[in-house]
Symmetry: C2
Subunit: 276 residues, 2 copies
């Protein structure tokens, strides 16, 4: 069962959460997956995460046209009051798929959070549509999101930078460009704050396809699940800001293409072909 979303409707749709830099030229596994779920040929590309989304529309339009999705239009706003404009809402009423491109996840949430656009996106999801997001668009999916944090560094107690996300996927924290930018430290830091959230770190050109409470991994990299449920000790609440985090007994799963994970049991789902 999908959990209730913040708008009060149960999400029956599909989330495709991408770790950034999905392939546009070669095997295009991830964009094919998105395209295969769009039956009416219509997609809204939400470029709101970017200050300068020049070229994004052309790039995605070209890629999706080749994959059988001819009708791609852009949703871009620069101020919150634009998020109530009739033409933008009208377009969202006509589609069943939205793709958030990369940039800064705080732009997504600060510009559309609690606006009519935000509610329309939740409605699309609740009605069985597809919400995809790459990079910043991936991070923004969760209830609480990581907004920044050091790359290639162990977590320091003072490195807290979280914000409220779009609330499409509860009880998780999502990080992207994961192995490529050395982000295990900051994801562990986020989980240490409250192990109620499951940490999900997604590599570039890699995605999770979420339906109900399960997801499947696609793409060329790995997905890291950091589960703090059994943690026996951490210094997150005690140490001074420049100290390095200490945390014992995390559970870590590394998943790759074809693996399936259950978000309710927090366990990988063993399928016959994966038995070794």
């Amino acid at each position: 069962m999908a959990k209730e979303t913040k708008t009060g409707k149960s999400g029956r749709g599909t989330l495709i959460i991408i770790g950034g830099h999905e392939d546009h030229n070669d095997h295009r596994v991830i964009l094919k997956e998105v395209a295969s779920r769009i039956k009416d040929g219509k997609l809204v590309l939400a470029t709101v995460a970017s200050h300068e989304p020049d070229g994004y529309l052309e790039k995605y339009r070209s890629s999706f046209a080749a994959l059988g999705v001819p009708d791609v239009t852009e949703l871009y706003i620069d101020e919150r009051d634009q998020a109530a404009m009739d033409d933008k809402l009208e377009r969202l009423r006509q589609v069943k798929a939205v793709f958030f491109s990369g940039g800064d996840q705080l732009r997504i949430t600060s510009l559309i959070g609690d606006t009519p656009i935000y509610r329309q996106i939740h409605d699309i999801f609740a009605d069985g549509g597809v919400i995809a997001g790459t990079s910043a668009g991936a991070s923004a999916m969760s209830e609480t999101m990581l907004v920044r944090g050091r790359n290639a560094s162990s977590f320091r107690i003072g490195d807290i930078s979280m914000a409220t996300g779009l609330g499409l996927l509860p009880n998780v924290i999502i990080d992207q460009h994961f192995a490529e930018r050395g982000r295990i430290g900051r994801l562990i830091g986020a989980v240490s704050q409250n192990p109620r959230v499951l940490g999900i770190g997604i590599d570039e050109d890699t995605a999770i396809v979420v339906q109900g409470h399960q997801f499947r991994v696609i793409g060329s990299g790995a997905v890291y699940l950091v589960d703090g449920g059994d943690v026996t000790h951490s210094n997150i609440a005690e140490a001074s800001t420049e100290e390095a985090l200490s945390i014992y007994d995390l559970r870590l799963h590394v998943l790759s293409s074809g693996d399936t994970f259950d978000l309710e049991t927090r366990r990988p789902v063993r399928e016959p072909h994966k038995e070794g």
Copy 2:
């Protein structure tokens, strides 16, 4: 109880295993720890890991002189036959402390492995001396060592590059520059090959001080322990070389300064001041 080393003598000494870039200018916590254990003022700096160790001796000599170790001499060889030279062995007979500087761990093992120098170093350790190593000098401590592997990348099945190490610390694989170079992927890969080894990833300016079967963490970063003992599935033996590793149920501990770990029980040691 310390385990038997490969030379057949039980190591009663201290290993100080450093993740690279230990501070030389400011707090110098790690070099102070090394210096505090040298009672006779004599240290051999083994620069054999480096092709061009110019300047290493001057740098360490200056740092150690300021910390009360006035007599630092260099051990450098370029060919295996130099590892039997009398003057080098005579110097090693006079000291109780050796410090391996950085470079390429394969140079250390290929040049001194099974030579009289190698046996002399084991004797120093067995007799209660100090063997320290930073960066490549850290990796070389274990029975089997990581020699190379992609940074900032998830592990691919074909990314195997291991070699026989100095054998001073059994049952572990050590990696260094750990968070800084995004090396969790390759350490997990090494552990996946045989979970008998415990993965130890050490950040820069961070070290573990090993005595018997316990170690303590010092320095400014973190130490990651990757324990594959409870792993329920991995595709390491089945998947093709370019596929990403999949592995379930790793246990991960992140330790920082002051934390203690037991290598026999594979558990952090909870001390009263760490109780939260």
